[in-house]
């Protein structure tokens, strides 16, 4: 009975989830390519220097946007659609309209990135895509979010659990953040300091209130689902949720330490960052005390291995983030490449790893096609290796950079830049490894969705009917 109802739900989601996962994969490859180009330009300034549209400032920004909105946005839709429908025990609604909105979303990002490469950026962090495309992005997002909420409203059990809190609130937090920032930056531009505070606040909050809750919600879902046990100390989860909701948007302003803003802004940011230890401790207690009860099973299940890598990375990197928010440390690292460490640990080491795990969990269920274990394993090890050396290079390189930049007596080009150059070369290598790893991921995904490209359209029904329970 129940298997059947889950199958019906999966079938109702097949088209939309496959579409979002497939396009997320393509954006991931685009972002990987751009990441490699921007890393290569740091080691060799003449790399591709004859192409004006590939100058460093454009490629770097395009990479961040492709990663967050292309890969992040699409995979968030896929994961949220599926988990919310599954937990609601209800079929997904508005299939065709969601698919259409998904097309608009991806089309808008394509034009947005072309706009960035053409030099039509706005100056606001993570809102760099040209102003014209934001209404399209916002409307398509709202349509998708609306139908996910409709699905959630028709749930069987009126009680909600942790994955639902995180996924649905992130669904609502993104438009809230966007409207506040867009109003304060473009519609009624705030004057003076407020504008730069707002711009920076949006860019950081986007990661904390949009990407992070989705990854946490996914982990809260997949850990009990695969391990077959309830989350340990689950009573803490609600506390962790509200702590993130209340503290995260305040904590991000610690990045303004030493900036030309009233002193209380970075001071509050630092305090709230320290207070972020609460939700970090809660989430990692929940995840790890559940997972380590049955660690061999975690190790043997590839999706869960990805997720636990992500949650461990979340714990470690968030505590490191707290240390770097302390004024004494921030003074040294403020203007170093440590910022790349923060961005990459959050979007690669934490968010992406959990999404990879989720995709490997979801895809076999909705397409009925298993993904080869060797390919998944290759993807895991290359990703883990790539992320680790990337983060270590940025962390150690960032500290070196910060400490050396504090000494005005040093010659900039010959002492400071030359001593961080090796770290740039390591990141370049890491991006190559990650690029291959992501190529394998995308091939895995596309093979699962379209096992036989030429027979896909004719044998669609056969593929769905031969459902295999994992």
């Amino acid at each position: 009975m129940k298997q059947n109802s889950e199958q019906i739900i999966d079938k109702s989601l097949k088209l939309t989830v496959c579409f979002f996962v497939a396009s997320a994969g393509l954006w991931l490859l685009a972002a990987a390519l751009l990441a490699y180009i921007s890393a290569a330009k740091l080691t060799d300034p003449f790399f591709l220097s004859s192409f004006e549209f590939l100058s460093y400032g454009k490629v770097k920004i395009a990479q961040a946007n492709a990663f967050v909105y292309g890969w992040g946005g699409n995979s968030i839709f896929a994961v949220t659609l599926w988990v919310v429908a599954r937990l609601s025990q209800a079929e997904a609604r508005g299939k065709v309209i969601v698919l259409f909105a998904g097309f608009i979303w991806n089309l808008a990002i394509t034009f947005g990135l072309l706009g960035i490469l053409d030099g039509h950026m706005t100056p606001h962090e993570m809102l760099e895509m040209p102003a014209e495309i934001w209404p399209a992005l916002f409307i398509s997002y709202s349509i998708i979010a609306f139908f996910i909420i409709v699905t959630h409203r028709s749930r069987r059990n009126s009680n909600t659990i942790a994955p639902q809190w995180f996924l649905l609130s992130s669904l609502l937090w993104f438009p809230m953040l966007f409207l506040i920032a867009w109003n304060g930056l473009e519609i009624n531009p705030a004057r003076g300091t407020v504008q730069s505070v707002l711009s920076m606040w949006f860019g950081q909050s986007l990661i904390w209130l949009w990407l992070t809750p989705v990854a946490l919600g996914a982990a809260y879902y997949i850990i009990p689902a695969i391990l077959g046990r309830a989350i340990d100390k689950y009573y803490l989860a609600v506390f962790g949720f509200w702590c993130i909701a209340l503290l995260a948007p305040w904590s991000v302003v610690h990045h303004l330490e030493g900036g030309p803003v009233p002193m209380w802004i970075p001071a509050i940011g630092t305090v709230m960052s320290i207070a972020m230890i609460f939700p970090i401790a809660v989430a990692s207690t929940n995840f790890h005390s559940t997972a380590f009860l049955d660690i061999s099973k975690v190790w043997n299940s590839l999706p869960l291995r990805f997720v636990i890598f992500g949650t461990l990375s979340y714990t470690a990197s968030s505590y490191i983030g707290v240390i770097f928010s302390l004024p004494a440390v921030a003074k040294i690292t403020q203007f170093s490449i440590i910022n790349d460490f923060h961005f990459n640990q959050r979007v690669y080491g934490f968010f992406s790893m959990i999404i990879f795990g989720m995709v490997y969990h979801i895809l076999p269920k909705i397409t009925g096609n298993e993904i080869a274990k060797g390919a998944k394993s290759f993807h895991f090890w290359t990703s883990a290796f790539g992320v680790l050396i990337l983060l270590l290079a940025y962390l150690i390189g960032g500290l070196t950079h910060g400490v050396l930049a504090q000494q005005p007596s040093l010659n900039w080009a010959s002492s400071v830049i030359s001593s961080i150059l090796p770290y740039f070369q390591i990141t370049e290598l890491a991006f190559v490894v990650l690029g291959f790893s992501q190529l394998v991921f995308v091939v895995n995904v596309w093979k699962a969705i379209i096992p036989n490209p030429f027979a896909f359209f004719t044998n669609d029904d056969d593929a769905t009917n031969s459902e295999v329970s994992a």
């Binding site: 077959g228 009573y235 009233p262 001071a267």
Partner: protein
């Protein structure tokens, strides 16, 4: 009933239906029944208490009382330093007035032009009695005078009636010329200038050199 069948089918994983049921129940019960007390909540309460303490200290020390501007370093000046700073400001202001109103004739170096405009540097007309220089500026001067042994004023006169200048500006500019270019005379205050203005109220025309020599015999006696 469905719960059992699924659990038998897949003892290793949890269906979504069960997940919602179990966790909803956990959320209502808060914690599983245990003997004694739970260690984890106590640890959390202790750690969070410490964190709140640290955060409050940090907030109290680094928010600058939620002021808009950062604190300026508070410098405590002695009376002497304050006096020097005040005099420096006064002289700087007087220098501006001098550049605007006086330097075109008396020159920026205070040496004047030989035979035409008398020098101010080293002139006892400037450095002697505060009343003398103040009154000249208040009313002007015409006719021949002798400065540092040379005759001036045959062709030029200064008509101060046409120049709007306040007592404060006079005090500043006289203080400047009395201390610039090697002059080392005393400061002139605004109140003194007001007093001199009142004293010279009866004088309608510009002063003449002989008039001033009569008024200040002590200056010109030697």
């Amino acid at each position: 009933m469905t719960k059992d069948t699924t659990n038998n089918h897949q003892p290793s994983s949890m269906s979504d239906h069960d997940m919602v049921e179990i966790h909803s129940k956990l959320n209502i019960e808060k914690h599983p029944p245990t003997k004694g007390f739970l260690v984890a909540p106590l640890v959390f309460v202790f750690v969070f208490g410490c964190l709140i303490f640290v955060c409050s200290i940090q907030l109290a020390h680094s928010t600058n009382q939620f002021q808009l501007h950062p604190p300026t370093d508070i410098v405590v000046l002695t009376e002497e330093e304050k006096e020097t700073a005040r005099l420096d400001r006064k002289v700087a202001s007087g220098k501006k007035v001098f550049g605007l109103r006086c330097a075109s004739c008396h020159q920026a170096n205070g040496l004047g032009i030989q035979g035409q405009y008398p020098p101010l540097a080293g002139s006892k007309w400037v450095t002697s009695d505060p009343a003398l220089i103040s009154k000249i500026i208040l009313k002007g001067l015409k006719g021949e005078i002798i400065v540092k042994g040379e005759v001036y004023g045959a062709s030029a006169a200064v008509n101060m009636a046409a120049v709007p200048i306040t007592d404060r500006e006079i005090a500043n500019v006289t203080t400047y010329v009395r201390t610039a270019w090697g002059n080392a005379a005393s400061e002139i205050t605004e109140n003194e200038v007001s007093l001199f203005r009142a004293e010279s109220e009866d004088q309608v025309e510009q002063w003449t050199g002989t008039q001033l020599v009569d008024m200040f015999p002590s200056v010109f006696s030697n």
